[in-house]
Structure formats: structure tokens, C-alpha cells
């Protein structure tokens, strides 16, 4: 979407916002202001154009100089401006305009963002990590003292001090593991945290016991360093997901949050979405999304339904037509009657379908937990056997036997195993992030590496959703005239024409845009029209079934522009790469058969399903699942959201609908579809590294367990072995970064406004 052309015909405000960010709703903007505790208004603007400290300073200074702004603070990491307004009722639109004048596109950030930013889980983990780190440091210190010869009274004192530190540290920092272990046990399952929690607890209890009877060996250091390492893994994992999540919300393009309602006295008033009741008359301006399902009462316009239905071409709409919530009003102001309340609208039904579809995926068990199901019983049996064996061998010395058995548990505690997966995933996520792919969580990578089938949506996914002009008329005057008119409209067809023609545009006066039909104006003194063929035919000669759009000077001959969809960059390569790797690719489109077939033909996709409704899409994926296929779904629209959720794993471009982006496991920020095959490649590399890591962990256990069973493990050995194996696993995972270099990488395209608003 090139925003540089000025659009007369749209109001000055909308024009500025157009430059800024594409569709943006007056009502939504107003709704984004909240009252804070001091009785001021606060609004959070997402400003993707913030790049550096210079931008921060410029924006803050400009904002603080305004009379209506009390305070402004820019967050460079999130690329947001947090603004305090004088009055909770102020309109932030002038601020957005002012930012646009400075060259920064701004949109109100999603309402949830302010609270989400606090990220309580992350803070909790970080706090646990700090406590565990502090404890580990200090206990290590005493341990080094003991290992290097402190004995007698000193050693006992050190053990006591270590105990005093270790008990509260474990009680606090161990909570994430205990909670997760209990949760699993209550459901009658085993996960990785069960053996962890058990080992830590037993190590602590044993050490306390040893401390009390003045024993030589305690495992406080092992217990606490173990927690520390595990928390590192867990925190990194969380950080990765959190960053992806906030990046996705950073992309936020709003689904409508409210509507402008025509009052009885004829004035317009803003109302939150929930309070829009059927029968209300709404005013929907150009470039706004339709907030609820409506029927047009007056006014005509063009409607972009691509995100909703997958139809590529905008559709003209006038009085009597019904529009689904979520479609985009392109060209004219309309008044429309609400047909249903917001929670019954098309959009709401889609979201319902999506959550229903998602529950199907809940059955997936992550690889680490699968490993744990095997691992935990084996280890626990082993410890038990060791105990019994030692009791028998020593003739009933149960204290020594318990000591040895517990040291078996400690040394086999799956430190490396628990790190094996998350570390690899974190490194992979970092690599994907650099390549412009955001990943929701680690399990997505596991699932992606398993796929045996890929399904692509067409409009907005394989194609850009933007039409392009195929051939150019020969007549220079026509080209110049058409370009001049095309530049006056935001209709996608007009844009395509304006973008393709390079001639100097003619001088335009008296232009009017007739929503649903096209643009009319005097070009270099001659009347001319660009728009629907029959409408253009009113003033010029035109053949019977000429295609739209057409252009003509009054009294001249009309010329039609042949439009086709543009393939997304890299679409061919992505499809070819997957097919070559033995993964069949099919297309699942809501669009007309002819358009679907044409695109499929160009890309060499044999299996095409067209005209699919959202329910059809889910059905297709469910069928694939029942047949035992693990399917990757790539799609962008609202109509794909449920299918994205139903698939084994899914990807969406950053230009996707809100629902689509939320449903997808991966969001790619580049226009290039090669991201899909590249991500798949990373997923496979990661799966390999994870397998290797498991191998390493098992090898470590093969060495460690016999030592432990033989009773040769001292705390020193345990500490060294555990740290050693953890570091080994981490180092191996870091190799993922290196493999990344060998693939052709593209410079990470910044998240630009253009991408946000396809």
C-alpha cells in the first residue's frame, strides 16, 4: 500500500492517517483512550517507525510540547508511545496526525497491551532465577570451602549456613516445578517436572538429615544449582514466547472496537461494540472496517472482503446489500443498519469456530513429556533397586543405602534432559526471528518438523491480494488520463493502474468519486471516467461484455484494463521446495474457480479446492487428520482462522487478519513466501539437534548411573557432572545458529506499516 499519493476525496484527517497506517477508525481511536488513576487519559500508540534513540527523543519532545499532552514516553523495544492526555475525553487523532507529519505512522495499540506488558509470569520466573542464582552462588562458595579442606566445626557450620540458604531458596524458586509436577500427577500423567521435583526434594531432605547428624556430604549445592540451570532454560523459553507474542500484538491491526451510531437528533455518537444493538443505524466512513453485520441503508461503496471470504476483487455495494463484520469499506461513506449484535456477528462466529477447532490440537504431547513418561519410571525404579540392593549388600545399613539411592536420583535428575529441548528451541527462535519469522512456542517447531502435507490459502497467502495490470494500452493520452484518475482513488484496481502506468498524469479538475462505480473528472479539459465498464459505457463506446475496470474520455472508445492477481514473492520457490522434499502441496481457496485454477496452474499445484467456506476448510483439514496426515496450513484470512487452528501446525503472513495471526503458530514478517520452506528447514534442523541432545543426555546417564549405583558419587562429582552435561547440551544447541549461516538469508525486513496493512 503506497500511501504517498494524496487522496482528495478523503478528508484531511483520513488522508493523514492513510499515510500513517491504512485503515483506521475514528471510533476505534477514540475508544483507545482510557482514564488513569489521576483522572488523566492514557493512550498507547503503536509506532512501528521508531528505530533509534533519535526517534525517541524527537517524538517525546514533539509530544510534550503539545498542550493536550501531559506526558509522553516512548518504548523503543516495543515501538510504542505511552501518552498521558490532559483529559480522558480527548481525541488522540490530532496527535496521530502530528506524528504522521513528523514521518511516524501511528495506530492505537491494542487495549490489552498495557496490562500485558507487566508480564507477571516472566517477572516471577526472573525473580525465582535471581533467588536461585543468589543461593547457588553463596552455597557454591561454602561448598568450594568444604571441597578444598574445611573440616570439623567449620564444615558443620558451613553445612548449616548452606541449609539456611537452601531451604527458602528451594521453597521459593522451586515453585514452578512443583506446581507443574503436581498438576501432571493430579491428571495421572508424568512430565519432566516430576522427577525434577522429586530429586530436588529428596536432595534437600537428605542433606538436611546429613547436616543434623554432622555428615560429610551434603547436596545443597546440587539441588540449588540444578534449580538455577532449569530456571535459566525455563526463563529463556518464556522470554522467547513473550517476545514473539508482543511482536505479534505490535503488528496489531484493530478489529473494530466500537461504532459511530446515528442518534435520533441526527448527530453521531461513539458506542462500544458490545452496546451496538440490532436496528441501530451506523455511519461507516471510508477505510473503516465494518464493525458488525449490517445492511446498507444509504450510500454506495466498494467493499474489500478478501480477509473475510478470500475473494480477491473488491465488490461494489449499495443500499440493500448486507456486509459481514470485518470487511473493509474502501471508497464511500455509508449508513447501515446493524443486523445482529456484535457477539452474534460473522466475526464472532468465526472466532467460536476457531476455538472449537483448536481443542483438537490439545492432544499433542510435547517430545520432552513423551521422554519423561519413559524416563521417570525407569529412574525411579533404578533408585529403588539400588536402595534394595544396598540394603541387602550392607546387611541393613539403610542410611547408607538411602544416601546412595538418593544420589542416584540426583545425578540422573534430568537437568540436561530438561534443557535439551528448550535451549534448542530458544536458539531456533532467535534464528527465525532474525529471518523475520515469529514463533509462538516450542511445540510448534516440533510439530512443523513432522508434517507430511501442506495446504495453502490463495488470496493474501500465495498471492498478495493486490491486483496488477497485465497489459498497458498503446494510446499515450489514455494512459496519461487513466493514471491521473487512478491516482485519485484508493480502490485497489485504481492503485494497480496508478502503479503500473508511468506516463505524466494529466491535469485533473472537478473530480468526483462515485462509490461502487469509479472516478469521474475533467482531465486536461476533457470529461473522463475510470471504473465499472457499464458505467464508463454511459459516456463512451464500449464493447458488449468489456471487463472492468475500464477508462474512457467522453465520446471516445473505452479501454479495459486486464487485472490479475500478483503472486507473492517466493511462492513458486516455496511450493517447489516443499514438493521436492516429498510434501504434497494443495490449495484451499474461498475464491472463484477460475481465479483459483489460474494461480494454481502458475505455481504447479495440482490439488485445488475452490469456493470453500470456513466450514469447508475445517472439514478438509479434519479429513486429512482422520486419514493420519500431519498438515501444515498456511493462510491469512478471517475465513482461514479456524482452519489454521485445526491444522497440525500453521503459519500466517504478518498481513493476516487478527484472528489469523492469533491462530497461527508462526507469523512471517517478510513478503517473501520462501519463509515457509525456510522455517520448515529450521524446524527439521532443530528436531535433529534435539535428538542429539537427548543422545548426549542419555550418554551422560550411562556413565553417571553406574557410578551412582556403585556409591561413588560425592557432591563434588554431582555438581561437576550436572554442570558439565548442561553446558554440553547448551553448546550443542548453539550450533543451530551456525547452521543458519549456510542457508541463504535475506536481510530482515523491518516490520513496516506496509506489511501491517496489506
Amino acid at each position: 500500500m503506497t500511501g504517498t499519493t494524496t487522496q482528495s476525496g478523503t478528508s484531511a484527517v483520513a488522508g493523514a492517517v492513510q499515510v500513517a497506517s491504512g485503515p483506521l477508525d475514528r471510533a476505534q481511536t477514540r475508544a483507545s483512550v482510557h482514564a488513569n488513576a489521576q483522572g488523566r487519559g492514557t493512550v498507547i500508540l503503536s509506532v512501528p517507525g521508531i528505530r533509534c534513540g533519535g526517534c525517541v527523543a524527537t517524538i517525546e519532545r514533539a509530544l510534550r510540547q503539545r498542550e493536550d499532552v501531559v506526558a509522553a514516553r516512548v518504548n523503543l523495544t516495543l515501538r510504542q508511545a505511552n501518552i498521558t492526555l490532559l483529559d480522558p475525553d480527548s481525541d488522540p487523532m490530532p496527535i496521530i496526525e502530528a506524528l504522521a507529519k513528523l514521518g511516524y505512522a501511528a495506530t492505537p495499540a491494542e487495549i490489552g497491551t498495557a496490562d500485558d506488558k507487566a508480564d507477571p509470569v516472566g517477572k516471577n520466573l526472573l525473580r525465582s532465577l535471581a533467588i536461585a542464582g543468589f543461593g547457588a552462588m553463596n552455597i557454591m562458595l561454602f561448598s568450594v570451602g568444604v571441597w578444598s579442606g574445611a573440616d570439623g566445626q567449620t564444615r558443620e557450620t558451613f553445612h548449616l549456613v548452606s541449609a539456611l540458604i537452601a531451604v527458602p531458596v528451594v521453597a521459593y524458586a522451586g515453585q514452578p516445578f512443583y506446581r507443574s509436577a503436581f498438576g501432571a500427577l493430579r491428571l495421572g500423567r508424568l512430565n519432566m517436572d516430576v522427577p525434577i521435583a522429586l530429586a530436588v526434594t529428596l536432595a534437600l531432605v537428605l542433606s538436611l538429615f546429613e547436616t543434623m547428624r554432622g555428615g560429610e556430604h551434603v547436596f545443597f549445592d546440587a539441588a540449588v544449582t540444578l534449580l538455577f540451570f532449569l530456571l535459566v532454560g525455563r526463563y529463556l523459553d518464556h522470554l522467547m514466547r513473550e517476545r514473539a507474542r508482543s511482536a505479534v500484538t505490535g503488528l496489531a491491526r484493530l478489529s473494530p472496537k466500537g461504532a459511530m451510531i446515528r442518534q435520533n437528533d441526527g448527530s453521531l455518537a461513539y458506542a462500544a461494540l458490545a452496546s451496538v444493538s440490532p436496528g441501530a443505524i451506523l455511519s461507516i466512513a471510508e477505510n473503516e472496517r465494518v464493525p458488525v453485520d449490517v445492511r446498507i441503508v444509504s450510500g454506495g461503496t466498494d467493499i474489500d472482503r478478501s480477509l473475510v471470504t478470500g475473494e480477491a476483487m473488491p465488490m461494489a455495494a449499495g443500499p440493500g446489500d448486507t456486509l459481514e463484520a470485518g470487511t473493509l469499506n474502501l471508497t464511500g461513506v455509508i449508513e447501515a443498519e446493524a443486523l445482529r449484535a456484535a457477539d452474534e456477528s460473522f466475526l464472532a462466529r468465526m472466532i467460536e469456530m476457531q476455538s472449537a477447532a483448536e481443542s483438537g490440537r490439545g492432544r499433542y504431547v510435547r517430545i520432552a513429556d513423551r521422554a519423561a513418561r519413559l524416563y521417570a519410571p525407569v529412574v525411579h525404579l533404578l533408585a529403588l533397586t539400588t536402595f534394595i540392593g544396598w540394603v541387602l549388600a550392607t546387611g541393613g545399613d539403610w542410611q547408607t543405602s538411602a544416601f546412595v539411592a538418593i544420589s542416584v536420583l540426583i545425578i540422573t535428575c534430568p537437568c540436561a534432559l530438561a534443557l535439551a529441548v528448550p535451549v534448542a528451541h530458544v536458539v531456533a527462535a532467535g534464528r527465525l526471528m532474525r529471518e523475520g519469522v515469529l514463533m509462538k512456542d516450542g511445540s510448534a517447531l516440533e510439530r512443523l518438523s513432522e508434517i507430511d502435507r501442506a495446504v495453502f490459502d490463495k488470496t493474501g497467502t500465495l498471492t498478495t491480494g493486490m491486483p496488477a495490470v497485465v497489459s498497458v494500452p498503446d494510446d499515450a493520452a489514455i494512459r496519461s488520463g487513466a493514471r491521473a484518475l487512478a491516482a485519485r482513488s484508493v480502490h485497489p484496481a485504481a492503485r494497480a493502474i496508478a502503479a503500473r502506468l508511468t506516463d505524466l498524469p494529466g491535469l485533473v479538475t472537478d473530480e468526483t468519486e462515485v462509490p461502487g462505480f469509479g472516478v469521474e473528472a475533467m482531465v486536461d479539459g476533457r470529461r473522463a471516467r475510470l471504473g465499472r465498464a457499464d458505467w464508463v459505457g454511459e459516456i463512451a463506446d464500449i464493447s458488449q461484455n468489456a471487463a472492468s475496470p475500464a477508462f474512457a474520455f467522453a465520446g471516445g472508445t473505452a479501454v479495459s484494463f486486464d487485472l490479475s492477481e500478483t503472486l507473492r514473492q517466493g511462492a513458486g520457490q516455496a511450493v517447489a521446495a516443499l514438493t521436492a522434499a516429498g510434501i504434497p502441496v494443495s490449495m484451499l481457496s474461498g475464491d472463484m474457480e477460475s481465479r483459483a485454477r489460474r494461480v494454481a496452474g502458475e505455481l504447479g499445484i495440482g490439488d485445488v479446492r475452490h469456493g470453500a467456506t470456513p466450514a469447508d476448510k475445517i472439514e478438509t483439514l479434519e479429513t486429512l487428520r482422520r486419514d493420519g496426515h500431519l498438515t501444515l496450513m498456511v493462510g491469512d484470512g478471517l475465513n482461514d482462522a479456524a482452519a489454521l487452528a485445526a491444522a497440525h501446525v500453521s503459519m500466517a503472513p504478518s498481513s493476516a487478519s487478527d484472528a489469523g495471526r492469533t491462530a497461527a503458530d508462526f507469523v512471517f514478517l517478510r513478503d517473501n513466501l520462501e519463509s515457509v520452506s525456510a522455517t520448515w528447514q529450521v524446524a527439521r534442523d532443530t528436531a535433529r539437534i534435539v535428538r542429539q541432545n537427548f543422545g548426549l543426555a542419555i550418554a551422560y546417564n550411562c556413565i553417571a548411573i553406574p557410578l551412582a549405583v556403585a556409591g561413588l558419587v560425592t557432591p563434588l562429582v554431582a555438581a561437576l557432572a550436572m554442570s558439565g552435561s548442561s553446558i554440553l547440551v547448551i553448546a550443542n544447541a548453539l550450533r543451530l545458529n551456525r547452521t543458519g549461516k549456510s542457508h541463504p538469508t535475506h536481510r530482515a525486513a523491518p516490520i513496516t506499516v506496509q506489511e501491517v496493512s496489506a
Partner: protein, 66 residues
């Protein structure tokens, strides 16, 4: 080494103070925009950030800063 019975608690206390300070910083949003905060000092002595005497209506709860 009886001196250690003195030095170790003192040192542990210092560590605990550090930990408390870290928690404070965590609670007070000190780590929310690290890249922005690293940049900010580069711009801290440019022209006055706020026109010095913009008249502003009083804010209800002035004490919150303290």
C-alpha cells in the same frame, strides 16, 4: 577462623541488599525497554525537554512522584 563468623554474615547481608535492590528494580519496571534506555542518555542534554513554563492545570495527586 573466627573472623569469618563476622565477615560471612556481613558479606551475606551485602548480597541480600543486592538481591533486594534487584527485586526493587524488577518491580519498578527497570527492565522494560532496555534498548530505549541505553539510547536515552545520548539525548539527555539536548534542548529543554519541556518548555519551562507551560501553564498546566494542577494534577490531582501530586505526591505520587515522591
Amino acid at each position: 577462623m573466627s573472623i569469618l563468623t563476622f565477615l560471612i554474615p556481613v558479606t551475606l547481608c551485602m548480597g541480600a541488599i543486592g538481591l533486594a535492590a534487584f527485586f526493587w528494580s524488577l518491580r519498578h519496571g527497570q527492565y522494560e525497554d532496555l534498548s530505549g534506555d541505553a539510547e536515552r542518555i545520548l539525548h539527555d542534554d539536548d534542548a529543554p525537554l519541556v518548555p519551562a513554563h507551560t501553564p498546566r492545570p494542577p494534577v490531582a495527586t501530586k505526591e505520587t512522584t515522591k
